[in-house]
């Protein structure tokens, strides 16, 4: 198991957002997390690389306990790539510089090697011709593909996606999902918080339905989408498909 989550609780002040999450994720597994807004799914994802500090419980990433104060969180984060809803590209750096920054500064890769590697990653997401452009000049879909390349540049073992297509115009969703599909096919371990039910169904090995800070139901996509057991799952899916 590359990700182990044990009785994870997270509170913001007096508001308890996660109320005891237990979840194990295997290497190369693609897990899609669905659920209504405010269900805690993004918070859950952000706890997996400690962008949110954990109130109680345990998150173990590739053998490193994130709640252990002795754990080097920065080192663990280099193994966990993250893609954000709002891209969060660095606007003062070119596309290629966005991709090479962390390998050079964190991995101490040579500038030249990082650039070479970066160009290959940009080719992979179909944006090698945009290498020297600043992010402001890209469409949302292109920005998100750069963000994926940026995360991949660290050669992570796990990729986290926080609603990667929610801020995109509908016609740009496809290009991002197709990059993510390629990634899944190559065997990347992925945790994807998403509203794209089609993607969850087609690409996910497992679907987790979260509501009110707990995992209400989980299982294979066919089971969750075709034969949901929990009433909340059913009502959520009804709303999504109506």
């Amino acid at each position: 198991m590359i990700i182990q989550v044990k009785d994870l609780h997270k509170s913001f002040g007096s508001l308890e957002v996660l109320k005891g999450i237990n979840c194990n994720i295997e290497e190369k597994e693609v897990v899609c997390v669905i659920g209504p807004s405010g269900s805690g799914k993004s918070t859950f994802l952000r706890c997996l690389n400690l962008l949110e500090d954990i109130t109680s419980g345990q998150v173990i990433i590739d053998g490193h306990d994130l709640t252990d104060p002795k754990t080097d969180v920065n080192a663990v984060r280099t193994e966990v790539g993250m893609v954000f809803q709002r891209f969060n590209l660095f606007p003062h750096k070119t596309v290629l510089e966005n991709v090479t920054l962390a390998p050079v500064k964190v991995r101490k890769m040579s500038e030249q090697e990082a650039r070479q590697n970066g160009i290959e990653l940009l080719q992979k997401v179909g944006l090698e011709d945009k290498a020297d452009v600043y992010p402001d000049n890209l469409s949302g879909g292109q920005m998100q593909r750069v963000a994926i390349a940026r995360a991949l540049a660290m050669n992570p073992k796990i990729m986290l996606f926080d609603e990667p297509t929610s801020a995109l115009d509908p016609e740009l969703v496809g290009e991002v999902l197709s990059v993510m599909k390629d990634l899944a096919r190559e065997g990347m371990t992925m945790v994807v918080v998403t509203h794209e039910m089609g993607f969850a169904r087609e690409v996910g090995d497992r679907v987790i339905f979260m509501d009110q800070g707990v995992i209400m139901e989980e299982g294979a996509p066919e089971q969750i989408f075709e034969n949901p057991q929990n009433e909340r799952t059913r009502s959520f899916l009804r709303k999504v498909y109506s």
Partner: protein, 222 residues
């Protein structure tokens, strides 16, 4: 009633070397005052963002004291009152530089704080999620973006500080106003001399504007 006399610019021209000597001190005090002030401002601005309550409290106290008192009072306090408690006389130019430094530092601190806070939190998260340390994230991601946003308000502050040096005449700093007053005391040509002084200030402030606009344009490539 002042006598209406013919305007004769040759008085201003004759006094120019003397006025320029004053302008030289205006520039020296502005440059050193702002260099130190910028340093104080960056540290204090970051102190305002500190989680450490003591650091935050000290910096906030400093900023409130400076913003809440006139720079004229600060200057005469440093020159006349401070030596009383520390037992060392401070020469007027040093006192002037100190006054401009601590005064501009307080305002620059707020410029720095505001610019850093204006950068989207997602930028920090993106940096940290890539494994960059907090310091690396600040240096490579937050500061360059924040610095760009600081330039217009910094330009304002630089111009204000340059003009503020004119009050240092009260502590006998031989700057432009002081020199102008000395000339007028001799030739009674207040119109020509003070107009010339005003024009010299304008030249200096326009120079600052131009320099900052050039820097801004360079950074704007990105």
């Amino acid at each position: 009633m002042p006598n209406r006399i013919n305007i004769d610019w040759s008085y201003a021209l004759d006094a120019m070397p003397y006025l320029l000597m004053g302008a030289k001190y205006t520039v020296i005090i502005t440059v050193f005052g702002l260099l130190i002030g910028f340093f104080i401002g960056v540290l204090s601005g970051m102190g305002r963002l500190s989680q450490n309550k003591i650091v935050y409290g000290l910096v906030t106290g400093y900023i409130e004291i400076i913003r809440g008192t006139p720079i004229l009072v600060q200057a005469i306090w440093i020159y006349f009152a401070l030596p009383v408690i520390i037992g060392i006389n401070i020469n007027s130019i040093t006192a002037g530089i100190i006054a401009i430094s601590i005064n501009s530092g307080a305002y620059i601190a707020e410029i720095v704080r505001g610019s850093i806070q204006s950068i989207d939190r997602g930028q920090v998260e993106a940096g940290r999620s890539l494994g960059l340390t907090g310091m690396q994230t600040f240096v490579h991601i937050i500061w360059p973006q924040a610095f760009k946003r600081m330039i217009p308000p910094l330009g304002n502050q630089f111009i204000i500080s340059l003009k503020d040096t004119s009050i240092l005449t009260v502590i006998a700093v031989p700057e432009l106003v002081r020199k102008s007053q000395e000339v007028v005391a001799e030739n009674f040509r207040s119109f020509e001399i003070y107009t010339a002084a005003a024009l010299l200030y304008l030249v200096m402030t326009l120079t600052i504007s131009t320099i900052l606009r050039t820097i801004e344009r360079r950074l704007d490539v990105s």
